[in-house]
Symmetry: C2
Subunit: 463 residues, 2 copies
């Protein structure tokens, strides 16, 4: 560490990773397998291929290949916006008066505004290669929909996005962005699908939900020729694509001999956190480091900190395979937290397993505290963070202040998953002092857990 | 050029310029001096210092120092978001099938979303160093207001932003962004100033104008203790600060032995274009290159292509010093083009002189053609451009297609001044097919020219 560390730790184009890091391959204790919901047997490729494109299914089930090559054409696309900046937070360190070193990986410099593009590009690429004509997906806050629209425009493949109706109304600019990139955007629930019609018949005035949008998107994918469904988080192949985040960070830090003591990421479905920590967690599992890993989730949707480790569906309509994960139950309804990207009842199964086995810590944060940290960060570091990312900022500031108290010079790294340009209503609410948060009661949680599938595998579920 | 050129041409932190390039110092034929509007004599520092901070005034009048050092603390700030990416548009080249090489400098990766931050930071820094307590400014489209709010939050100095009322209503998220950074935002015209009250008395329902907002901001700056006014374009010190754009581009291209044949920038007040071309124009004036320089302006506000070369006021209230420039008259009212940053009646005096002397070309573009190019670019290169920047994109595409016709392998460089995330209403209008444009008639222009000051210096004005 004799070399002076720049504010931005650069990687050259040649140093962008050429293979993804498959964390599962280095885990000694593997996550439990995905189950077919009918047979309760481990899902096979042929179970999943009617819904997802083939290469993604292959990656989803691959527990053994440590490094999976990134195709040339996809590398070419990545070079248009990567490497994402890794920034030393000199200004924040000084403002906090901490002896800690703070670094953050800024994934928000592309037009979709977040890390989501890393997997969107991969999924669009593989779909095109397979000869598919179109894809379907859902979006809530809009980051994933934007990323898929950009990726599909680039690779030349059709896209239908079911956007949670209330979000499409509250975020007209997100909607416009997705449409500008040529995607067909349908507010969900809609009359274009059976599942949408069913929901509308029961509740004509509903604003929709992510679970409902997923059901509509899967239905269209399964019923349409040469069409598949893509998902922006939760699944293992998405985590795999996001490992490029952690690999870039590691390559840049290695150049300067920096080793993180604490790595922090926000956690919704888990793809950003899983991607950020992947190679570092590999080192820890191999006994090469003692890095601490911290997942930060909203207090309104605390799947790791208050959920159960059980087999559960990925969607509220209970149509997906079963994943063993920390979950609040697919019927859990989180309150309207502004960090839409973190409002998910479950958590990726790799991260769930790592948490279960004590390799990963977790904490939850209240929305107003998160926005306080967000505004502080924006003024000091000059970047307006997404509400999701701000959960990681809050925890990083807390850890840096703890170092100030103890005098320890720890190296803290966090993931800045995206920018908040399309989240200004949340900032307006915070600025006006009208922002609140709603932490679920134990009874709320019990109602969610009651929706867990009643199967033999779940007989021994526990917190 | 034997070396393979990467998609992103990197500069390391050490290569960020440490001095600004003062284009006027290398011009053999200098621009005409700023005049005091009362005496019609060249303005002195003491004429300007009641309005602007001292160091900016010094820079405004400096015609001789070729390189002006960037203070250390400001360099530190620049390192938080610079160097801005210089991108080889491989995808666009391929999509157009052109033999030309296309490069663009992407100034939109900082939170303010544009190049404006380069000068905002400098002006906030100097104001703080001078011991001022606060600053005032105006903003129309909002980029400048956002940039000043970020800079003032960082350097710890107060800021009052007069935002054109109709913009503050049409762009609530821009307003929220400015307020999140702690600035005091006042829709203009307001009852807080004499000039605002006067305008409201005459026209209570007005949506305001940039000229009116400038008048309010200057009035407050002059009447308030330890307060000065800052402007985001037009003036020479702003161009000077923006020269970091061109210097970074030149340093990056020099590393790969690339020499641009054509440099293109959008032109409103001229600061982005002036900054982008500065060192390259210096080379041309010194006889070291034959680069062509093209300013692109909106057909609705054609100050270079249809304006007069005359002394004129910078604001509609006619309170500023007189600048000799291409102008449509300070009373010219451009139609409501979505590229708010280009809706200015005049043009920086250095650029005006260069155009007058044949060193700079100019063309104008119709809004719908500009948005067609913007959407094409967004889908191919993955970046959603600001409406202003898209004028340069349109011209770059045209030049690349001309190369395709002639078979010439020209090197085309353009400035991507910013992103369009806060301009989605414009994209919505374009997507819906409801976007138009209004090109001023000759009679419209005559009405504008009639507002030019009737002074001896203007007796020989001509197109």
């Amino acid at each position: 560490m004799s070399q002076k560390i720049p504010t931005r730790l650069y990687l050259s184009e040649d140093e962008i990773p050429r293979a993804w890091y498959n964390l599962r391959a280095v885990m000694k204790d593997k996550p439990d397998p995905i189950l077919h919901p009918g047979t309760l047997q481990p899902a096979t490729a042929s179970d999943l291929e009617p819904v997802f494109c083939k290469e993604c299914v292959k990656q989803e089930l691959d527990e053994t290949t440590p490094l999976i090559p990134i195709p040339d054409r996809l590398q070419e696309f990545y070079r248009a916006y990567r490497p994402a900046p890794l920034i030393r937070a000199y200004f924040l360190e000084k403002a906090l008066g901490t002896p800690a070193e703070i670094y953050y990986k800024h994934e928000g410099t592309n037009t979709s505004g977040s890390h989501k593009l890393n997997s969107a590009a991969a999924q669009a690429y593989y779909a095109k290669e397979e000869g598919l004509a179109s894809l379907t997906t859902e979006t809530g806050a809009g980051q994933w929909g934007s990323a898929m629209a950009m990726a599909c425009a680039f690779f030349g493949i059709g896209l239908k996005v079911f956007m949670v109706k209330v979000s499409s109304e509250q975020k007209p600019y997100r909607k416009a962005l997705i449409e500008t990139y040529g995607a067909n955007l349908i507010p969900s629930p809609s009359n274009t699908t059976e599942s949408g019609k069913k929901i509308l018949a029961e509740n004509p005035d509903t604003g929709g939900s992510l679970g409902c949008a997923i059901s509509e998107a899967i239905e269209v994918a399964v019923k349409t020729d040469k069409c598949r469904y893509v998902l922006g988080s939760v699944l293992n192949h998405v985590l795999l694509h996001q490992s490029i985040i952690g690999e870039e960070v590691k390559a840049a830090l290695d150049k300067y001999g920096v080793k993180p003591d604490i790595i922090i990421g926000c956690a919704g479905g888990g793809s950003n956190l899983g991607g950020l920590i992947a190679p570092f967690m590999g080192d820890k599992i191999a006994g090469k480091s003692n890095t601490r890993f911290i997942a930060v989730e909203p207090a309104s949707c605390p799947s790791l900190t208050r959920g159960r480790f059980a087999y559960d569906f990925g969607d509220t309509a209970k149509t997906t395979p079963l994943l063993r994960m920390y979950t609040l139950g697919s019927g859990f309804i989180p309150s309207a937290n502004h960090a839409g990207g973190l409002r998910y009842h479950g958590m990726n199964s790799v991260l769930s397993k790592l948490y279960r086995d004590g390799h990963l810590e977790a904490r939850s944060e209240v929305q107003t505290d998160v926005f306080k940290a967000a505004v502080q960060f924006a003024k000091i570091e000059g970047i307006l963070p997404a509400p999701e990312s701000s959960h990681a900022i809050k925890a990083a500031i807390d850890e840096a202040l703890e170092c100030k108290r103890t005098g320890e010079k720890k190296v803290i790294l966090f993931g800045l998953t995206g920018t908040g340009y399309f989240d200004m209503t949340a900032y307006m609410s915070y600025n006006a002092g009208t922002m609140g948060d709603r932490i679920p009661s134990d009874a709320d949680l019990e109602r969610g857990f009651a929706t867990l599938p009643d199967i033999p595998q779940n007989q021994h579920t526990s917190p």
